[in-house]
Subunit: 243 residues, 2 copies
Amino acid sequence: MKSIISGARPQIRIRAANPWLAGHGVEPDHIPLSPADQSELARLADVITFETKGSYILTQGEPARFLYLLSDGVLMASRVLNHGDRQVVAFYWPGDLFGLAEAGSYVNSIEAITACTVLRFPVSALEAFFLKNPAIQHRFLIKAIHDLRTTQRQLIVMGRFDIARRLAVFLLDCSGHESYFDSATKIITLPMSRYDIADYLGTSAESITRAIAALEQRGLVRRVTPRAIELRPADIKSFADLA
Amino acid sequence: MKSIISGARPQIRIRAANPWLAGHGVEPDHIPLSPADQSELARLADVITFETKGSYILTQGEPARFLYLLSDGVLMASRVLNHGDRQVVAFYWPGDLFGLAEAGSYVNSIEAITACTVLRFPVSALEAFFLKNPAIQHRFLIKAIHDLRTTQRQLIVMGRFDIARRLAVFLLDCSGHESYFDSATKIITLPMSRYDIADYLGTSAESITRAIAALEQRGLVRRVTPRAIELRPADIKSFADLA
DNA sequence: CGTACGCTTGAGCCCCCTCAAAAACGGTGG
DNA sequence: CCACCGTTTTTGAGGGGGCTCAAGCGTACG
């Protein structure tokens, strides 16, 4: 279920772009890290593989001694409230950092949606490393800012969009990740359930199904199987109309 | 309306706490900055005062050449969608950083809710400074993580709470800022309108009024004037029940 | 003293939630 | 390869929270 392979050295890449650099046409959505930087960082980390989907990488409330980098797979960050219901706060894709903490404890639980490989950095080592390598620390700052922007955007979607539009934005977001979107056929293969999507979009699984049906009736998507959905990206974009 | 006073030297403080340090009892909610660090930072910044409430400090889409630190007053970050409606993304209080950018442009507009004083850092100078001062860059990283956590929390509130609970959380948040909350009388003086609160909580101004009335009927708050509200913090906390 | 703006209250309607059950899917073992 | 079974997805019916439209009220400011 869980195995530590310190020997393996997966590629280290962080999904984010410098917010202050104007994007000239097609911008790279990954922060450049030189091979030297990569191996310096890799020296700090353990590589851990989770074979089973549904595994918890970490749990809310647990002492936060590590920061994680997702190398491969899809994860879900969620928080369970006193009421018992769950809010999914984010989905993580390769190149994302996770392990958000407050006062020494993780604030969210992180669950594997698919089998996945992560790099685990001890926070103490990482913070010491940052002081000697400001340029690399800067990469992490940029990533934090990137995630802040992403979360603000989700806040806007939740505050102003009806369920169909929220789903449209979500599907477009998913289609940005190559491993799960076939850009030739325009078919996206969702790794997560209706319940997961619902808890992310602040609604119920039934409403997700109905929203997909609504998008389908407008001709914006087509259900191939429940998890495989063919998109008309341009039409969906104009429907979602996110400024 | 707007005046640059490079001579003045307001206190520089950043509202955030290191996420990886366990809070022992009462934790300071401000990152410690030595006088030396403060004056080094101050050298990079212009001090700007906005006398008039309603002034825009910056506008979404504008080239993002500066990062700002709010020294005094209350600000509102909002985004206007193609539809025309507005989502308020955050309120900023003294010690908050603002000027979030993407691909070289600001993503939100920042409006003064009260008269305010800000420090304006040129991004280019700040980034150069970070490379020579990793410890100070670390403060900014911690602040970004702090804001990420705050935004995620708001996402949870928006996704799972009804309007009355959202308002309860909002009032508690406001009561954390000394200048607007009298801890003796438990009276909070809201600097923002019902419309602003509504656009922050993803609802309408009418619903905010009704939600206040609902809290009042439960005995959780009492309206002294429309903008001055007496709170029963403990009862509100258990009502909002944020895990 | 008048006017504009912000706040409050009311009425009617619609989106979406909840509860319930059927249908489809996918993995497993014979 | 097929039948079985648990899980996921879909569909249906009914009810409620909150939105919209509209009008009154209070207050600050010119």
